[in-house]
């Protein structure tokens, strides 16, 4: 557990450092995820080591968004007088983009004979 957490936090720290140093438009944790993926793809030992801790962190992923969500409640006023228009844009575009994404994925998968196992 200790070494798994060390690896996960180490990857995040490396990601944050690279993001700061290079000015890449990506957050440190996303770069850390890529780094950990590379390490796990290279070594099954790393994968086995990280697995229990990673599963623990991901088991209640939704919980981790609660503090930021509470912060947002106080800022709904920042939507101002245009709040209905903005809400329409958020809800409409979310539905359209999910539909566009899933239909494109399925269509290209069918065209290239790419089925799931």
């Amino acid at each position: 557990m200790l070494h798994a957490l060390l690896l996960i936090l180490g990857c995040q720290l490396a990601g944050e450092t690279v993001a700061r140093a290079t000015g890449l438009p990506l957050p440190g944790p996303v770069l850390g995820m890529v780094l950990l993926l590379v390490l796990m793809a290279a070594s099954d030992r790393v994968t086995g080591l990280v697995r229990p801790a990673a599963q623990g962190l991901l088991a209640h992923l939704s919980l981790l968004f609660v503090p930021a969500g509470v912060g947002v409640v106080g800022h709904v006023a920042t939507l101002g007088g245009q709040s209905l228009a903005i809400l329409a844009a958020v809800i409409g575009s979310t539905a359209l983009a999910i539909a566009a994404g899933v239909l494109t994925f399925s269509a290209v998968a069918r065209l290239t004979g790419n089925t799931d196992d």
Partner: protein, 238 residues
């Protein structure tokens, strides 16, 4: 009664009370989600946020005090994002195999998320700084905030819009995807993670492990794609 007031003033100054309240509120949200037969309309995050907002308002607690306790939960977002490498690792061969559908859906989904939001908002009379804040809303929060700042948007407003997008996606995805008759868990998960980032990914994991893994992939790839796409599309609207 003074005793209770003393205990309250002691507890309300430390992080323990609001950390516990955050976990309790989420446990309540999760219980509601289960009681509702795992209906996507009863989103555990939404229930927890609503319960805590009422609690903070009723007790006259400001967000700063609340966050001193809640920060321990908030901090775990970073390590949890890194941990998403595990489901990606487990699905690596399937993802390699699905490279073409993934790339096509990434381009179409990322452009649609940004362009349709700006088109709807602009048609309803929204302009200027608000449009710039809206453009990157399908990217994960730290990326979206960075892009928004670069485009002259408001970071606070973007944070609000990112969360609204995430919760909207988590709530509407299952009924919408069923309506479209989509049965491929890879496609379903990828689209949800791409459009509604971490909150959508969390929702996808509740539904199916394959959907969760592909949602994590969609979220990561769209963080990159939005950084490229949002400035281009926004320039068409000003």
């Amino acid at each position: 009664m003074t005793d209770f007031a003393e205990i309250w003033s002691y507890l309300s100054r430390g992080p323990l009370l609001w950390l516990t309240a955050t976990l309790a509120a989420y446990a309540l949200g999760d219980a509601c989600f289960r009681l509702a037969g795992r209906s996507p309309l009863v989103n555990p995050v939404l229930v927890a946020v609503a319960a805590l907002a009422v609690l903070l308002f009723a007790s006259g607690t400001d967000y700063g005090t609340y966050f001193e306790g809640a920060q321990f939960v908030h901090f775990l977002l970073g390590p949890a994002t890194v941990a998403l490498a595990l489901p990606l690792r487990d699905n690596l061969p399937r993802m390699r195999k699905a490279l073409l559908p993934v790339l096509a859906a990434l381009v179409v989904g990322s452009v649609t998320a940004c362009a349709s939001a700006l088109a709807i908002a602009a048609a309803l009379g929204v302009d200027g700084q608000v449009l710039a804040s809206l453009a990157p809303k399908s990217a994960t929060a730290p990326v979206a905030i960075g892009i928004s700042e670069g485009l002259g948007g408001s970071p606070t407003l973007t944070a609000v819009l990112v969360l609204l997008t995430g919760i909207t996606g988590a709530v509407i995805a299952t009924p919408l995807l069923n309506l479209l008759g989509q049965k491929d868990w890879r496609a379903r998960g990828f689209a949800v993670g791409l459009v509604s980032h971490g909150i959508g990914t969390a929702r996808a994991f509740q539904v199916h492990p394959t959907a969760g893994a592909f949602a994590g992939l969609g979220m990561a790839l769209n963080a990159v794609a939005t950084a490229l796409v949002a400035p281009l599309i926004l320039s068409l609207f000003r």
